[in-house]
């Protein structure tokens, strides 16, 4: 009897352990996909450090917009004597992400790979905060006030701040200049190789142009695969970045940062 009981107990423990491992794997898989999905944002912006920073500036614009909306939400909650604490915490968290985005934008020490990893991490964290705040808002605001609250949010200004617009204009110029330089160099190398093997290239410049564009497309596909591999390879690093940010936020709350509203 004792033996049977111990076998059943062992089976339970074993099943529980397998379940834990499996559940953990499923979560990891989901998170990894979210990071990889964010890469599609970088399709037209992954060629140079400058274009990647354009994406960061656009992310900054979206965060600014949400910070404005959260301030509006807090004003709304205060007007109706509703609890603002939870939403204020989320606002502080989003302001911290904004500071991290600005750190990246103001620094010249990030390689292209670092920029890509930081982008997917900061975007994922911003999304998480917005989703969590949405649930909080639904809990705090009574149903009858929804239409009025919605109107308040709709009027928010989605236009980029002037400094962000100027930053984007300057980054576009730097990106285009670097691309022209790279393309010129790449084209000369390609032309020499291609014309050695294709006598027609001497007569038909359109053929040369067409083949060069195809070669670039091949390069872009390769680059996208490399970025996916980069994210998959650095999944632990991405998780650590998120954890560090979270810890920084928790410690910062104790020290009073983010209270500059």
């Amino acid at each position: 009897m004792k033996k049977i009981f111990s076998i059943i107990l062992l089976a339970f423990v074993f099943a529980f352990a397998i379940n834990l491992v499996y559940a953990d794997e499923v979560n990891l898989q989901t998170d990894q996909n979210i990071y990889v999905n964010s890469l599609s944002d970088l399709d037209n912006y992954s060629q140079t450090e400058f274009s990647l920073k354009i994406r960061f500036t656009q992310l900054l614009g979206s965060i600014d917009n949400k910070i404005y909306q959260l301030n509006e939400t807090i004003n709304f909650l205060t007007e109706y004597n509703l609890d603002t604490n939870t939403v204020e915490n989320k606002l502080t968290e989003l302001e911290q992400i904004k500071l991290d985005v600005l750190d990246v934008l103001d620094s010249n020490n990030f390689s292209k790979d670092d920029l890509i990893l930081n982008y997917v991490s900061l975007k994922q964290d911003s999304q998480r905060i917005v989703f969590e705040t949405r649930d909080l808002i639904i809990d705090v605001i009574p149903l009858e006030l929804y239409p009025e609250f919605k109107d308040r949010l709709v009027t928010s200004n989605k236009q980029l701040k002037t400094e962000s617009q100027e930053r984007i204009k300057s980054l576009v110029k730097e990106h285009n200049s670097k691309m022209k330089q790279n393309m010129n160099k790449g084209f000369n190398e390609f032309r020499n190789g291609f014309c050695d093997n294709n006598a027609d290239c001497f007569k038909d410049k359109e053929l040369l142009k067409y083949n060069f564009k195809n070669k670039l497309l091949e390069g872009k596909t390769k680059l996208n695969i490399e970025h996916q591999m980069l994210v998959n390879k650095n999944f632990d690093k991405l998780q650590n970045m998120m954890m560090n940010r979270h810890n920084k936020f928790n410690n910062g709350q104790g020290q009073g940062f983010g209270g500059n509203r």
Partner: protein
Amino acid sequence: MKFTKMILLALIVVVAVVFAFLLFSASSSTQTNLDNANFDELFSSNEIPYTLSEETALSETVDIGELFQ
């Protein structure tokens, strides 16, 4: 007879020189074509691959979700 042979030889030499000149000029014109096919000639400034327009960069946003739907 000797004179005829010399004329023939001279003719062969002239033909060879002309042929060599033609060959040389053909290859150098090919080289000119190749040199002419430079990047600026093939791609105007607004069709350089992977460049960005200010307008697009200023109008695109990053979707981080909505606070209320």
